[in-house]
Amino acid sequence: PSIVASHERVAFSVPSYFTTNSVHYSGRCLLKSYIRAALKRDEVVHVLGFEVSEEETRGDLDGSCAERLLFHDGYKDPLGWRKSASFTAHQFNSQDLTRILRQTQQPKAPVLVIDSLSWLLRHHDPVAICRSLQELRRGGAVRTIVGLLHSDLHNTSTVDCVSHLATAVVTLAPTSQGPLAVAKTTKRTKSGKVTQDEELFSIQGDLTVTIHRTVSQAGKKQTEQESSEADPTANLTFNLRLSDTEREAKEKVSLPFVFSQEKKSALLHKGQRSGRILYVPDANDDFDQEDPDDDLDV
């Protein structure tokens, strides 16, 4: 099955969608394939590019798709050092963004792709960014916001802060087997239900995504996962369980100190069979009742 189909479902149902990644695996490929898939189904896609140039973003797309992509260049001069800026970091607020998104008169609400949130987080307060994203989402100027976040560049609180805002978070990690990677998707529905998915995927040269195996089934409760992960009896060197015959044998054994019928009769009929000490005093034995220790030379 192809992920593009499932991608579509995700994109239609959720207003925002973030991809996180680390140094060891770049999420940009998946982001590009998302852009391609969105363009293929005739969506209006705006890309705020800070980390990758316009040519590179358009480069991997085929002709008609590349033409329809609307690129806002925050790559060449994001801080206004060269005084040739087309989009600067300061413009990242809901008013300016809404203005830019509405410039192109399109009947459909567009998809906004941010490449990347990490760049923005370096120049803005995380709170301000979260607020802008929230306002954008409420304002209705966009249908979906997709952002790339390099999660290893920020502290966990910032990553959490942005992740809480998202309705779906895809965390990518490499595997030992070459082009394959693991995508962990956490989706939050409006009712507050959280579902997690783990999939093994790879991206082909033409930016199509192939899912190879679903690692864990959708809708699995997290508590279940945690308890199965923390099973201490998983890899023991000894046996903790009993087979039926072993249990039978175990039950047959009578415990010491339990007063059974046998013990009772043994105690009552003691005599002949129990051991006795026979003592015949020797002639030399000078046993003095008064002083039993007198042979000790004390």
């Binding site: 140094v23 060891h24 695996y25 770049s26 940009r28 490929c29 394939s33 980390e51 140039s53 040519e55 590179e56 480069g59 991997d60 790559y75 060449k76 001069d77 994001p78 801080l79 050092w81 060269r82 990490s118 370096r122 120049h123 390099h150 290893d152 560049l153 490499p174 070459g178 082009p179 990677a181 991206i203 082909q204 040269g205 033409d206 930016l207």
Partner: protein, 271 residues
């Protein structure tokens, strides 16, 4: 210039790649031999080279380049090399603070300024002057070499400001002018105190995200060895054609006039 490294990186002075951002990082080892390699490589390739020498003086680089068969003095006279003596100039700014005649290049050392715009302006103006020396013909494409970025951190620049600087250099040199960029960064050993380490850690990760080729030099885990000086991890990070990154780990030994690279455990003294 090390021929062996060229074949590993699949490059030669006659046919050098364009738009490449190479990051060299080292940990418990010295990766400056790679800086010398790239300096002589790009000078031989006929590129216009802008070198920000923040860690060593010109005479040091010149002496090493001489051994590798390249004359920096000549390249400078021809206009091919622009060498920025950051080591001397920084001291100059710090000692003569408040004097009227100031170049904006080292603005970041002055209290009112925290970004590296001045340094970027210097870089962009020096790479833009392609072929203005009369009769020598144009040098293309431009190359920026920085040795090393960690010095900026020690001078009080924040990691974010350094990343902005490299971002601008990449946008101008690699993307716009189709040139190349090579920077060195030194990482601290792992058991350092938190506050300081964070800066260089963030800088390293940020740069790895920016670069297209990372060469990570590391000392041997088992300690010093006379015949194997360390390991280089070559990490192609280009994500073109849907290909994810490739990695290759090699061990190396630096000689007087070159370096040898070999697969792990295949050093001639081991076998």
């Amino acid at each position: 210039m090390y021929a062996e490294l060229n074949s590993i990186l699949n490059a030669s002075p006659d046919n050098c790649k364009q738009g490449e951002f190479t990051l060299i990082s080292d940990r418990k080892a010295d990766a400056s031999f790679l800086v010398h390699h790239f300096l002589s490589f790009y000078l031989r390739a006929g590129c216009k080279v802008c070198f920000l020498g923040l860690a060593q003086s010109f005479s040091h680089y010149s002496a090493v380049a001489q051994r590798l068969g390249v004359s920096l003095t000549q390249a400078k006279e021809k206009g091919q090399l622009v060498f920025y003596e950051g080591l001397k100039d920084c001291l100059g700014v710090l000692l003569r603070e408040g004097s009227t005649h100031e170049s904006p290049t080292l603005d970041f050392l002055r209290p009112h300024c925290s970004d590296l715009k001045g340094l970027y302006d210097f870089v962009s103006s020096s790479v833009a002057r392609v072929g203005d020396a009369a009769g020598t013909g144009p040098w293309a494409p431009p190359v920026l070499l920085v040795d090393d970025l960690s010095v900026l951190l020690s001078l009080g620049v924040s990691a974010g400001a350094v990343l902005d600087f490299t971002h601008y250099c990449k946008a101008t040199i690699c993307t716009e002018l189709q040139g190349n960029m090579v920077t060195l960064i030194r990482c601290e050993e792992e058991e350092e105190e938190q506050g300081d380490e964070q800066g260089s850690d963030v800088l390293l990760k940020g740069l790895i995200h920016q670069c297209s080729l990372a060469l990570q030099v590391q000392g041997l885990l088992t300690g010093y060895c006379k015949h194997i000086h360390g390991e280089v991890e070559v990490w192609w990070r280009g994500v073109a054609n849907g290909m994810q990154m490739q990695k290759k780990v090699l061990q190396y030994k630096v000689h007087d006039k070159g370096a040898v690279f070999f697969a792990r455990g295949t050093s001639s003294v081991v076998l």
